[in-house]
């Protein structure tokens, strides 16, 4: 698979007078069509990484390539047309006064003509199931619905990469699960690469690959299964938690990591 994001030796520090680095030679590649999760505790540097990936900060050392373009002060505007970003706070990323205005904001910036814009806005709203709400104003929407609108806003730009910057943190577990399902479907139908920056383990479980950041450094990269087996400090997802608890009680469970479905199947046997 062709890489769509390449991060090479990325180093960043906020205060040039000190030695503390927010990121220290971070490298990884994300393949086209992959769901890639970036996890880490508070202060691990994942927010800094998110801001670097979206061009809000400029790399001091190292480089970022997105869709074969290097992220620089000049190219960032073009790269931004290829990425869609959903941020954490549903309220603070709603710019338009109605749902459809908000979805159109990015398209307006491209100076797109009205007909094409309307088509794209309607399509994007249908994809996230918010079409009926297109004339609503944000104060009448729930947090989950606002995040759906934010996703629609990103999808309307027909991006190659969807970056979720802790996008589900402020949602209740139910809307979180529903949104994850939606994104799973979109990933296939809209041919997206998903990069999710998170500390929610259900989100991590949904990913194809995971990178673990600690103190600004990459400590592990691999499939969720491998990560949860190797990193004992991480709170595992429900299935694995259950497996470990059963193992502790002396039940005859398999020794390796199990996903929720696997545990379910095993219990049914």
């Amino acid at each position: 698979m062709a890489p769509i994001i390449e991060v090479n030796n990325l180093t960043y520090r906020y205060d040039l007078r000190t030695e503390t680095k927010a990121l220290l030679s971070v490298s990884f590649t994300v393949h086209r069509g992959e769901w890639f999760a970036i996890i880490g505790n508070n202060g691990s540097g994942k927010s800094t990484l998110a801001q670097l990936l979206t061009g809000l900060l400029e790399p001091q050392q190292g480089s970022i390539f997105i869709a074969d373009m290097e992220m620089t002060e000049k190219s960032k505007w073009e790269i931004r047309n290829r990425i869609g970003v959903v941020f954490q706070n549903p309220d603070n990323q709603f710019i338009g006064s109605t749902v459809q205005d908000d979805v159109a904001f990015g398209l307006e910036n491209l100076n797109m003509d009205y007909k094409e814009m309307k088509k794209r806005v309607y399509e994007a709203l249908k994809m996230v199931g918010m079409f009926e709400y297109r004339l609503y104003d944000p104060s009448h929407l729930s947090g989950g619905q606002k995040q759906r609108v934010a996703i629609a806003g990103a999808l309307a730009m027909k991006p190659d990469v969807l970056i979720l910057d802790e996008a589900f943190v402020m949602l209740d577990p139910r809307s979180r699960r529903e949104l994850l399902e939606t994104i799973h479907e979109l990933k296939v139908s809209a041919d997206l690469t998903v990069v999710s920056i998170t500390h929610d383990m259900t989100e991590v479980e949904a990913a194809d690959r995971v990178v673990v950041l600690d103190n600004g450094q990459v400590t592990n990269i691999g499939k969720p299964r491998e990560i949860f087996t190797q990193e004992k400090e991480l709170t595992p997802p429900l299935g694995e938690k259950l497996r470990r608890a059963l193992a502790k009680r002396g039940a005859n469970v398999p020794q390796s990591y199990m996903s929720r479905e696997e545990v379910m199947c095993w219990l049914w046997k």
């Binding site: 970003v85 307006e108 491209l110």
Partner: protein
């Protein structure tokens, strides 16, 4: 806090609601200018008929209009009293030391009162029937020619629309902060004026810091979505000038002609 009272827009489907915001804004300003043509009771009668007609067309309850006058009533009465006291001429009705109320003064006072109230009624009719965001679009479109003078019209209207969009959020937040302070034993609206003002400080500080954070996040979002000031942007919201808007302007012209004819009589 009631979200609906803000911007005071009342949803509806009256003719006034359907008019283009530009037609309403232009007519509103024009009305203020034509007011000065009126100088006798016939002209004022015509203006009143027009104003009441507009109020009726808006299908909004009369009470809402009177509420619009209430906060300004003292200013209006003050001006009226000044007019009554300092206009001389005609029969003198009251003479009490330096205070003298004459016929002309009284008539002038009534006229001034009518003018004020009509201006308020008409502008209320506009804000009641137009969504704040449509007003912003209307202003944006009307200020369009100023672009040639390098005035950043688009930025101004985007700023306006974003501030309108965030008013409910700020109200919610104020409520939350106040509740938090109340839970810690602060009592609002009690004690001397100084004490009351002191209780407001711990509300404003968190509100300000939150607003700054919010602004920064919003700026990031806008940047990531490709917003650059000064570039050419298309617009998803479109204002459509319809026949009824042209008719509105014709009505305004007819009103002017009527006023001039009545004035000449």
């Amino acid at each position: 806090m009631n979200k609906l009272s803000l911007g005071r827009y009342v949803p509806g489907d009256s003719i006034l609601h359907q008019l283009d915001p530009r037609a309403k804004l232009v007519s509103g300003f024009y009305f203020i200018i034509v007011l000065f043509i009126a100088n006798n009771w016939q002209t004022y009668l015509l203006l009143w008929l027009f104003t009441l007609g507009v109020m009726r067309l808006s299908k909004v309850h009369l009470y809402t209009y009177f509420r619009g006058v209430r906060p300004l009533i003292w200013l209006i009465l003050f001006t009226v009293v000044l007019q009554m006291l300092f206009t001389a001429g005609g029969t003198i009705y009251v003479e009490w030391g330096p205070i003298r109320i004459s016929e002309f003064g009284l008539i002038n006072g009534v006229y001034i009162f009518c003018r004020f109230v009509m201006i308020i009624f008409i502008s209320t009719a506009i804000t009641l029937t137009t969504k704040p965001i449509d007003l912003t679009d209307g202003i944006d479109s009307l200020l369009g020619p100023l672009r040639k003078l390098n005035i950043p019209v688009d930025e101004i209207s985007l700023m306006l629309s974003i501030s309108l969009r965030f008013i409910p959020n700020l109200l919610d937040e104020t409520q939350r902060v106040m509740d938090a302070q109340r839970a810690r034993g602060t009592e609002f609206g009690e004690g001397s004026l100084v004490q009351q003002m002191k209780t407001l400080v711990p509300i404003f500080l968190p509100l300000f810091t939150n607003s700054l954070n919010r602004a920064e996040e919003l700026a990031n979002v806008m940047e990531v979505k490709g917003y650059q000031s000064g570039i050419k942007r298309s617009s998803f919201r479109k204002l459509r000038w319809k026949t009824c808007d042209t008719i509105t302007l014709c009505v305004m012209a007819a009103l002017t002609i009527g006023l001039i004819l009545l004035r000449l009589n």
